[in-house]
């Protein structure tokens, strides 16, 4: 299957010898939902930020829709959208105003922009509230607006950092369904999350990252079988513990 993202030994060193992520390699195929999971400070966000061209890579490369983050960052940005963890939006704008603003950045012509906005308004499910100021939105409403923004241009790859963090169960379910639906239509997703149940439900493949290293990649079923675990949470615990021991041994 066609690869939308290919991460090749991607590393980020902030200070000499201190790696936030090191030699991370994985790929995401067309229509696939790939989840990066790991404890706090494991290097998930750093990896995602490098793929999103926000941070420069110290070593390695990532290729998005055939474009390298090192040599063609502008082309990469045309093919991705990024939703940061706990991101906000411009509070003085209305929901629709924000969508129009972002659509004009992503769209190649006004017709496309109009189409993106209409799609996002519908997906957000905000109804009449789309014309209200974002400052008056609840957390769930803001997150739905931002997610609609992230997928409205139908990017080759949508990168979502903790897409449902802080949301109530109903809103989280709605967002997970939306992601599943869009993936079935051919959009690829790179997610990061702490929520193992969510990952097990929504993702096609999972990468477990700890201390900057990608320790395991596979489907939930494969990983559960390999670690003889009942759920992804147990897999995660076993992989991270194993990773720590290996890390300490190396040290």
């Amino acid at each position: 299957m066609e690869k939308v993202l290919e991460v090749k030994e991607l590393s980020k060193m902030y200070k000499k010898g201190v790696y936030a992520s090191e030699k991370v390699s994985f790929d995401v195929k067309k229509g696939e939902i790939f989840a990066l999971i790991g404890p706090n400070g494991a290097g998930k966000t750093t990896t995602i930020r490098m793929i999103s061209t926000l941070l420069s890579a110290t070593e390695g490369d990532a290729v998005v829709a055939g474009h390298s983050i090192l040599t063609e960052p502008a082309k990469v940005r045309e093919n991705i959208t990024y939703l940061p963890d706990e991101a906000g939006a411009y509070k003085t704008m209305t929901g629709k105003g924000y969508l129009e603003f972002m659509a004009n950045i992503y769209a190649k012509n006004p017709q496309d922009a109009k189409e993106y906005v209409e799609r996002a308004v519908e997906m957000s499910g905000l109804g009449e509230r789309i014309n209200d100021k974002i400052g008056s939105y609840s957390r769930g409403m803001s997150r739905k607006l931002l997610l609609s923004r992230a997928v409205m241009s139908r990017p080759a790859l949508a990168i979502l950092d903790e897409p449902t963090s802080g949301l109530d169960i109903l809103n989280a379910i709605e967002i997970r369904r939306m992601i599943k639906q869009l993936a079935s239509e051919g959009m690829s997703f790179l997610l990061s999350s702490h929520n193992m149940l969510e990952i097990e439900f929504v993702s096609d493949r999972v990468g477990i990252i700890a201390k900057g290293h990608l320790l395991e990649v596979g489907t939930s079923a494969e990983l559960k079988e390999k670690y003889n675990a009942n759920n992804l949470e147990e897999v995660f615990e076993a992989v991270v513990k194993k990773g720590s021991v290996e890390a300490d041994e190396i040290l």
Binding site: T81, M102, Y106
Partner: protein
């Protein structure tokens, strides 16, 4: 107990290293300003205690009047002079009536002339006239303090007590005796002179240019606040991450921010200027105006011309963009709303110090160390721009412009470098903690690569 527990917690939150460093910084700045003021005030007082006189009459009467001005101690019982200080009066000779040239030759800013025939007229009971020459070198308030006015009053007193009391004048005539001594005021600016007092010229000039420091201050404060707030809010809300991962160049994001902040700040400054102008007009409406004030200022070369306004525009433009680029760097350092507020401090002081100092003191007259420190503040050159243009300090004006251009280039390079690199996300100003990577390293979380 509970109260102290809470009190301790509140203190700990408020007294952060950032707050302490800022407070100490403010204190040091104020000490520095105090030192600068102290020095200049000492010079002003010293200068005001000495009067420079040109005795063109050279009569016994003029000599005795000058002698009377050197009295440094008077007997309290008899009222007679006890001690004299020759240094209280400096005698000079003018070689021509070209006062501008003569003051330049003598390197004096204030000279009081006792004209020829002074003594003779006094003895005849005719009206006598002193000539008060003042050279204006700056619009700053303390720059034009002259000892001549005090000397004129002393001369009037001496004449009244020494000569008129024994001249057989009636009580009524004595009461009007002060009008016998009149003063012809002459103000000199560069090589031009006008028959008007220096204090009046100073007022007229300041009325004309007083809007500039207000615009500069408003521009700097507004633009800085806007850009620091815009950058820090985008960083904190993570909208910057969304924007910079979108298909738009970072330079476009940066320049649009700077331009928008510049436009809004300029609009604010214009609104301030209009409001302030109207306020001043209203205030001066009831006070009446000096006849031909424009003509007098033009005569002295103090009327701002079109080219002068263009030069001021250049200075304002540079100031605005220096302020925006410095603020951009500061905004990138903010990690939360509180630190964004703290980061306004350097800009506030960089605007406030030259604003206050240039209003009161002629910076050129400061001791070299202070002078160059003040000149190092980029906004100083804008605050003194109208003074430099009006008083013909072209070297200082263009020196300031060149310095600002160089500084702007440096600040813009730093700002662009920060904005187009990882630093826009990784830079923070936090004196409280070691960097999170240091902490992680310490905890062994990030040493996997070793």
């Amino acid at each position: 107990m509970k109260f102290f527990n809470l009190f301790k917690k509140e203190l700990r939150e408020l007294l952060t290293p950032t707050t302490i460093i800022t407070t100490i910084g403010i204190m040091l700045i104020l000490v520095f300003v105090g030192e600068a003021f102290g020095g200049i005030m000492g010079d002003v007082i010293e200068e005001a205690s000495q009067v420079t006189i040109c005795d063109q009459d050279n009569s016994e009467i003029s000599k005795s009047i000058i002698k009377a001005l050197t009295v440094s101690k008077v007997n309290e019982e008899t009222g007679l002079p006890e001690e004299y200080d020759e240094e209280l009066v400096k005698l000079v000779t003018l070689e021509s009536d070209d006062y501008a040239k003569e003051l330049k030759r003598l390197k004096e800013n204030h000279v009081l002339i006792i004209p020829e025939g002074f003594g003779e007229k006094l003895m005849k009971g005719e009206k006598i006239e002193l000539i008060n020459l003042n050279k204006m070198t700056s619009g700053a308030t303390l720059a034009n303090v002259s000892s001549n006015e005090g000397a004129v009053e002393s001369i009037r007193k001496v004449i009244k007590e020494t000569y008129l009391l024994n001249s057989g004048l009636t009580v009524e005539q004595l009461a009007n005796s002060e009008t016998i001594v009149s003063v012809s005021e002459k103000t000199i600016v560069d090589d031009k002179s006008a028959d008007i007092s220096v204090s009046m010229v100073s007022s007229l000039a300041s009325m004309q240019s007083m809007f500039l420091p207000i615009i500069v201050y408003a521009l700097v404060m507004f633009s800085s606040q806007l850009i620091i707030s815009a950058i820090s809010t985008e960083k904190i809300d993570k909208t910057l991450e969304t924007l910079l991962s979108a298909p738009v160049s970072r330079l476009s994001v940066l320049s649009s921010k700077m331009l928008a902040a510049g436009v809004v700040a300029a609009l604010n400054a214009v609104a301030y200027m209009i409001g302030f102008n109207q306020m001043m007009k209203g205030m001066y409406a009831g006070m009446g105006t000096v006849e031909n004030s424009d003509a007098i200022l033009s005569e002295l070369g103090l009327k701002m011309t079109t080219s002068g306004y263009i030069l001021l525009g250049i200075q304002l433009f540079l100031t605005l963009f220096i302020s925006l680029s410095v603020s951009l760097v500061l905004g990138a350092l903010a990690k939360d709303a509180k630190s964004a507020q703290t980061l306004m401090m350097p800009i506030t002081f960089m605007a406030m110090i030259p604003y206050i100092i240039s209003m009161l003191i002629d910076i050129k007259s400061l001791a070299p160390a202070f002078r160059y420190l003040i000149y190092a503040i980029p906004f100083t050159h804008t605050f003194i721009a109208s003074d430099n243009i009006m008083f013909g300090n072209t070297t200082l004006f263009w020196g300031g412009v060149i310095y600002q251009v160089v500084l702007l280039a440096i600040c813009m390079t730093i700002a662009v470098k920060i904005f187009t690199s990882d630093k826009i996300f990784t830079l923070t100003l936090d004196f409280n903690k070691k960097s999170k990577f240091d902490k992680k390293k310490k905890k062994g979380l990030l040493n996997f690569g070793k």
